[in-house]
Every structure is written in C-alpha cells, then in structure tokens.
C-alpha cells in the first residue's frame, strides 16, 4: 500500500529509502525530505511532554494532490516516513499504524543484528527488505 517507505536516522539522513520503481523516485525522495520538517514540527510540539508520553505514530504529516505522507518516530528519534497513494481506497488509520508497527519491529530486528552498525544503511537485512516489499507490493 505504500508507494515509498523511508527510514530516516536521527541526524536526518536516510538509512533506508525505497519506492516503487516505476514512479519518479526522485519525487518521492523529495517528498520524504520535505516531510522531515513536519516531523520535527510535530515532535517539538509535544515539547513539554516527555518523550515517553509522546505517541510514536504521528499520523498524516501532509497530504498532496496524489499522495499522503504519514510519519512515525521512535524513541531514539529514528523516523519512518511512508508515502501512500491517495487514490487508494482510504487506508484506515489502523492499517497505517499496523504498517508502521511492522516497520518498527523489523527495524528493531535489524538493530539487534550485531553486524549492523547503527547509522549504517540498512542494506543487509533481507527480512527488512522482504517486509518492506510486502508493504509496497500491495499498492500495485
């Protein structure tokens, strides 16, 4: 269901970004990049509340004509950004949440791999790739 999935590190550089190949990938990259501002805005909005109280799922970051961008941030300030096609029968919020949850779980699995150095690109994990593929394939 997602058109593009991206994992952004704390320092706001992408750890993993993947989109449907047919589309203009650069456009998606740009969308993800611009959404980072919105993410930061949402994070800081909670400001006073501690990180604990902040919910991980950020919800719809911003909609565009064709796409909607959803965000999710972990407690370590790693951000997941997902771009979905607006034309899709309205994806329920719960579905998006579940997708982010899966993403988060796969991400923690990658983290658990001692051979993965935090901050590296996530290119070695087949499980992560397959999970993202499963999320994206549905779009087609």
């Amino acid at each position: 269901m997602a058109v593009c999935v991206a994992v952004i590190a704390k320092e706001n550089y992408p750890l993993y970004i993947r989109s449907i190949p047919t589309e203009n990938e650069l456009k998606f990259h740009y969308m993800v990049h611009t959404s980072l501002d919105v993410v930061d805005e949402k994070i800081s909005a909670m400001g006073k509340a501690l990180v604990d109280q902040r919910e991980l799922y950020l919800g719809l970051l911003y909609p565009t004509e064709d796409y909607k961008v959803y965000g999710y941030v972990t407690n370590s300030k790693v951000k997941f950004v997902m771009v979905v096609d607006s034309s899709n029968t309205a994806l329920r919020d719960n579905e998006i949440r579940s997708m982010f949850r899966k993403l988060h779980n796969s991400y923690t699995d990658v983290m658990c791999n001692p051979f993965y150095n935090p901050g590296d690109h996530i290119q070695s994990s087949r499980a992560f790739d397959s999970m993202v593929t499963s999320m994206m394939i549905q779009v087609c």
Partner: protein, 796 residues
C-alpha cells in the same frame, strides 16, 4: 585380474556405462572424472570405492581401461549387494544385481539404466545412472551449474528417491549433494553440503576451480579437508583440528591426494555421512561447535551476546554482509544473542559459506534451534518460523480470549460478550473497553438478546414448550419450568402465554432464559397471588430500575444465573414429575428488595407455591435489571425444597441484601453491559440449573445479557459474586428438588437427565463467569490504578 564373466545384461550395461565415461571416445579408457562421478553415484563409502579402484587395477594403471572399468563396475555391484570386496567375488557372486548408481542427473541415463535393470530394485537405483559430467560438478561454485543440475537432480530425485537413499548407499552422489545444497538445503538426498563435494570436484576435475573460499582455506592444507574447513577462523587451529573432528572424512584425505578417484570416494563418503538434509549437522560438527561455544560462553544454556558473537564470526573472514545474513538466519528469536542451537546453526552456516555453499534464504529446518521459550509463545499459534514473533506482542492478549469462545459455544448470544471479553483482555483502555461494551450492548435489545440463546439448545425449547403447555394447563409447577425452558424466542411465546397467565408487568421473564427470575415471576403469576405481588413489585422496581427491555428486564444477570437455577428448579417442580424443577434456590425475584422478604415468607408456605414463586421470581428479576435475583433464589430455594427451605432461606437472605444493593446499582447501569450481564446470567443460570434442565440454560442467557447492558463492570463484578452465591445456593437446593418432586419415575429420570444437562451447562457457565469475573476485577484494578495515576494530573 582374473577374467571377468559378465551376463548379457551386465555386458550391455557396462558397455553403456563405459561409453558414457569414455568421453574422449577412445574406446579404451574411461575418463577418470566420469568414472569417479559414476562411482560416487554408486553411493558407496569412500573406502569401498578406493578398494574397488585398487582391485580393478585402475590404481595401478592410473586409468580405467575397459576391463578395469568393467571389473570396477562389477565390484560396485558386489559392494552394493553387501558382499565383501574381493577379486574372487567378481565371478563367484552369482546373480549379482547390476550396480546401482544414484547420480540421477541424467534422466536418460536413468531410463537407460532402468532398461538394463532386470531386477525390480534397479528401477529406482538407476535413476541417473551416470552422474553428470564432472565438469558440471566442478562448476559447483557457480550457481549456474547448480541451476542446471538442479532440474535434473530434482528430476532424478523424483525417481524413487528413497531407494536411492538406500541404507546401503549412504551418500547420494556428490554432485547431488552440492547441488542440492544450493537449492534445497533441507531436502533432497542425504547430501552433506558441507562435505563439500564441490571442493573435491575442483581438485579432481579442474584445477582447483572450485571452492573459492575453500581454496583459501585449503591452500594451507594439501588435502582439502573433506569437511568444510571449520578452520575458516583464522585464529582457530587450522583445519587439522577440524579434520580430526571428522575422522570419517579425514580418512580419505590422504587417498584423495593420491588417487583422483579417492577424492570421489571421499566425496561420496562425505556425502554419505548424512542421509537427509544437506544442512544437517553431524555429531562431530556439533561437538566442535559446542566446544567453540564453550570457549565463549561456558554455560551451555546461556547466551552469547551479540558483540562476542560478532567478534567470533568476524574471524571467519567472511564479508560483513554475509555475516549479517547469517546472523539474521540463525538468530531465531531475534534477541541479539545466540543460544547454543543458534550458535551451532550460525557456525554451520559460516562453514558452509566458507566452503562455497550459498546461504539459504530461510533457515533450514535441521538448523532451527529448539525453541523452548518461543514454543510457549507459539501457543498462540505461531509456527517454528517465529521470526516475527517477538514483534507481535499484541498476539498475547488474544490468548486470553480462548475462554470466551467457550462461552460462545454454549451460547451464541455470548458472541457479543466474547467480543467484549476480548476487548477486556486487550485492555487497550478500560474506558474503551467499557465503551465497547456499551456499543456492543446497544444492539442487544431484549429480543435479540433473548434470541441468542435459542439456537443453543433444543432440549430447553422442548422442555420449555412443555412447560408452556404445562403452564397453559395451569399447573403451577409447569409455569416455572416453562419459563425456564423458553428460549429467547420462546420467551416471546412465553410472554404471550405468560402474559395471559402472568401478571403483566411484562414478566415475560418467564422466558426463563433470562433467569430464574422469569420463573419466579411466572410461577408466581400463575400460581399464587402472592407472587403476583412480587411480580408486580418486581415490575415496579423495573420501572425504577434502568429501563430494561420491556419484555423482560430479566436482569438475571448475575442474579439471573441464579434465576436460571430457579427456573430449572421451577421447571422441575412445575413438572413435578422428575422434580426437575430446579428452582435454584437462587434468584429470588430480586426486583423487590422490599418484597424479597415477603416472597420468602410466602414461598415457604407451600411447596408448589414456592416453586411457582421461584419461577416467577426469576421472571420478576429479569424485569428488573440487575435485580437481585438472589432474593428470588432464596425464595425459590425455600419454596422449592421444603427440606432445603431453611437452607435456602438462609442463603437467600444473604443474597437478597446483596442483590438489593446491587439492584439499585444495576438499575442505574441498565443499559451498560447487556451482553455481559446476559453472559453472566447465562453462566449463572447454567450453574443454577444444575438439575440439568437444559432449557434453563438458554433462558439465562438473555437475561444475562440484559443485565450486562444494565450493569457496569462493577456491577457485573458484584453480580458475579452474587450470582456465584446464588448459584451455590441453587445448586445446593437442587439436589433436594428431585426428591421433593418424585412422582413419575420416567418423569423423574427425564428430569434428572435434564437437570444433569443443565447442571453441566450451568457449571460451564459458572466457570466462564468466574473467568469473566476475574477479568473484570483485573480491569477494575487497572482502572483504579489509572485513576490514581491520573489524579495528580488533574491538578495540573
């Protein structure tokens, strides 16, 4: 070599094989490579092959002449037949089957072979008589060869693979092994990928074309270790130790060097070491792994932390990417640490990779660690591949719901409640669950609520109908029974019937479903004027109480359960035949807290009346949401059983006050937890209806439902407690009922049967309700905790 006499079939077969091996068409010499392949396909131990080589003279000559080849083939047949290899055996062994070659790469060959085989056994064995050309094997490193070989291999394997992997022939041909390895690590013939036929191929056929990784490792050792070089780790003692670990393969090392065929033998041997899945860890390997594990973590039951494992495996000089993949595969529970099993799997994979085997996509089954802790969580239904298990904590809560489904099974109407239960267990938020309850309750209007129980029981309906009839006949006893029996649908009927009989207050409760309340109301209506009062009063409380569904408030909810008991009692008493009327002492018409004592008084007056009372009281109770059916029960108890009157009365009074207290509360809560209530009542009812009047069971359900809607969680809890108390009372009273009403043997027996059924139902209900009660209590506690936590915030 002595002369070799061959049969015609043998002659033909051998010549074909020779021509197969004679790739250079010399008609004189069989290519060593081919021959080795062939011999490997024979699935003979390496030493046997070596022996054959020697015996036939190839070792001496250095090549396979036609005669040597034939002799060798004959010896292969001899060996395969289990005879000792001796020169004399060539001609002495009679009726020797044609040698079997497993390498079924070549379907054609296999077919050829099959044609040759005169024995039945040969059919399978000749699959792929001639192993694929050595060249292919040597390409083993290349996945391409794997691919090309694979199809054939698989095709060949399709032939009776089992015969191929006959106990005699331990290893499948080496080409098989490693082909399989790349493809089906877990399946296929017993190949030992690690046995590295590949590596051997390379030395054999092409000059060290093979193992890339292996080469590096083996460079230091003249004979490529038959096993994958455990040695891959630089800091660990080189292959020598590893080689020692695998004596079987080690034996051949020397021979490998010396004789090309020996390598084949080695390979064959190696391959033979494991019948099954190429990824299987041999004992020696396992031992080695365990020793390595101990060096890092002395406790075999402990974990190796990720960092230590990383260091260890980094020594293997595999690229980090591959190590990461290996880790992904082997860390089954994704906890960042390796147990012994995981470690062995990882080590095995490393060794395999070092020997040139591609890593599988999924962890082979033989490498899967024994998941002990995961297995527990597997209860939730995960398969061994619980990779993602850790990531699904949400799955845990649903496990609580199993108890609910049982309820559902008994009462379809409980489906709603089951959902509610699930939400309960999930406890996303108590408030949410509460709201969910409400939402669930909303649709459950009394009619629907009533309807649910219907499908569940046939008998109850019948009984109910009987009761109805009895009612119509005007027997007091029947009344109570009928209401009890009436299912939700019946309830309507009852209502109709009862309406005429009952005092309207709409105590159609008589449905008996809802609870003994109905019973009590019915009997009362039908039977005694006294009860009328109660029923009326019951209804009036209904009015005051939260607007219960008109037909029957039958709060039989917690109390209703007891009411059900009453109903059953009522039924039994009503029938007076089998004393089935299990008017559970429970559920006295709750609605009238004030009246409760009254009914009690009245009830004891006359047994029949009591019965009716009880029947009516339950009816009344349903009307009043969350009314203490217990009071009715009490009354019933008193009335139902003269003997038990005292006991019941004692119980009831206890219950009544409780019920009374709960009544107002319940009344407040009317529409809250309908389903819950119903469930509760249903549960209680079945318990009440220990008599076994199945019909009673259904009736309670609707009642319970209503109660639920009316009651909040807390009330439910209270009701539960009340119900249980009532149930106990009812149950206690039940036994006496039959005695009191034993008129007709048949009827008694029937009623006993029914009572037993209802008994079981009620017992089940009871247990379920207990469970629900626990859940509710837990939820309550959590809610209170949350409340406490939130309090300070309110000040902010």
């Amino acid at each position: 070599m002595e002369g070799l006499t061959l049969s015609d079939a043998e002659q033909k077969y051998y010549s074909d094989l020779f021509s197969y091996c004679d790739i250079e068409s010399t008609k004189k010499v069989a290519a060593n490579g081919r021959v080795l392949e062939l011999f490997r396909a024979a699935q003979l131990p390496n030493d046997v092959v070596l022996q054959i080589m020697e015996l036939c003279g190839a070792t001496r000559l250095g090549y396979f002449g036609r005669s040597q080849f034939y002799i060798a083939l004959k010896l292969v047949a001899v060996a395969q037949s289990g005879f000792p290899l001796r020169v004399e055996s060539i001609n002495t062994v009679k009726d020797l089957p044609l040698p079997r070659f497993v390498a079924s790469k070549n379907e054609q060959e296999s077919r050829h072979a099959a044609s040759y085989s005169s024995d039945s056994e040969n059919q399978g064995s000749y699959s792929g008589v001639i192993p694929p050309p050595p060249g292919r094997g040597q390409v083993k490193k290349g996945s391409v060869s794997h691919d090309t070989v694979q199809p054939r291999t698989s095709a060949d394997q399709q032939e009776p693979a089992s015969p191929v992997v006959s106990p005699q022939q331990s290893p499948p041909t080496s080409p098989h092994t490693w082909r399989k390895h790349s493809r089906h690590p877990s399946g296929g013939n017993s190949e030992r990928p690690l046995t590295g036929p590949g590596p051997f191929w390379s030395p054999f056929g092409e000059a060290q074309s093979g193992s890339s990784a292996g080469d590096a490792v083996w460079s230091g050792h003249s004979p490529p270790p038959p096993q994958e070089t455990w040695v891959s780790f630089a800091d660990t003692p080189p292959t020598s130790t590893l080689l020692t670990m695998h004596p079987a393969s080690v034996q051949d090392q020397t021979t490998v060097r010396t004789v090309a065929s020996a390598t084949t033998a080695n390979e064959i041997r190696r391959q033979s070491s494991s019948y099954d899945d190429p990824w299987k860890i041999t004992d020696e390997q396992r031992q080695y792994y365990v020793n390595q594990f101990k060096t890092i973590q002395p406790d075999l039951n402990g974990f190796i932390p990720g960092s230590a494992a990383k260091e260890f495996f980094t020594k293997s000089k595999l690229p980090i990417l591959e190590l990461s993949h290996i880790w992904e595969l082997s860390d089954f529970d994704k906890d960042g640490a390796l147990t012994l099993d995981e470690f062995c799997a990882a080590f095995h994979l490393v060794v395999a990779r070092k020997n040139g085997y591609d890593l599988p996509e999924k962890l082979p089954e033989s490498l899967m660690p024994k998941l002990i802790d995961l297995e527990d969580s597997a209860d939730v239904g995960d398969q061994p591949g619980e990779v993602g298990y850790s990531g699904s904590p949400a799955e845990a809560p649903p496990s609580k719901s199993p108890s609910m489904p049982s309820l559902n099974q008994t009462w379809p109407e409980l489906n709603q409640s089951s959902e509610q239960w699930e939400t309960f267990s999930e406890r996303s938020s108590s408030s949410q669950t509460l709201t969910q309850f409400d939402s669930n309750i909303a649709p459950a209007d009394p009619d629907t609520a009533i309807v649910h129980p219907v499908p569940i029981r046939m008998t109850p309906s019948k009984i109910h109908m009987q009761e109805m009839e009895l009612k119509r006949t005007g027997s007091d006893h029947t009344n109570p029974t009928s209401p009890l029996l009436v299912k939700p649908s019946d309830l309507s009927e009852e209502s109709k019937i009862n309406s005429s009989v009952k005092f309207a207050s709409g105590n159609t409760v008589a449905d008996g479903y809802s609870s003994s309340d109905s019973f009590t109301s019915d009997p009362e209506q039908i039977g005694n004027n006294v009860t009328h009062q109660r029923s009326h009063s019951g209804t009036s409380p209904d009015n005051t109480a939260p607007p219960p569904p008109p037909p029957r408030p039958q709060p039989s909810h917690s109390r209703s359960s007891s009411l059900d008991m009453n109903r059953t009692f009522a039924v039994t008493t009503g029938q007076q035949q089998a004393g089935v009327v299990a008017h559970p002492p429970a559920v006295p018409p709750r609605p009238q807290p004030s009246q409760a004592p009254g009914p009690v008084v009245h009830r004891p007056v006359d047994a029949d009346g009591l019965i009716t009372h009880t029947s009516t009281s339950p009816q009344q109770i349903p009307e009043q949401p969350n009314f203490a059916d217990f009071s009715q029960f009490e009354v019933f108890a008193a009335s139902n059983v003269n003997e038990e009157q005292d006991d019941e009365a004692e119980k009831h009074p206890e219950v009544l006050p409780v019920e009374k207290a709960s009544d107002p509360a319940s009344s407040l809560r009317v529409a809250k937890t309908d389903s819950k209530i119903e469930e509760k009542t249903a549960a209680s009812v079945p318990a009440n209806v220990s008599k076994g009047t199945t019909p009673l069971a259904p009736p309670p359900k609707p009642v319970r439902r209503r109660l639920k809607s009316e009651d909040e969680l807390r009330p439910e809890v209270d009701e539960h407690t009340q119900k249980t108390g009532v149930l106990a009372a009812v149950l206690a009273s039940q036994p006496s009922i039959p005695r009191s009403v034993g008129k007709d043997k048949k009827a008694i027996q029937a009623s006993i049967r029914r009572n037993k059924e209802t008994n079981t139902v009620l017992a089940r209900l009871n247990s379920e309700l207990q469970q629900q009660l626990k859940d509710v209590l837990e939820e309550r506690i959590s809610l209170e905790v949350q409340l406490e936590q939130l309090r300070p915030f309110s000040h902010l």
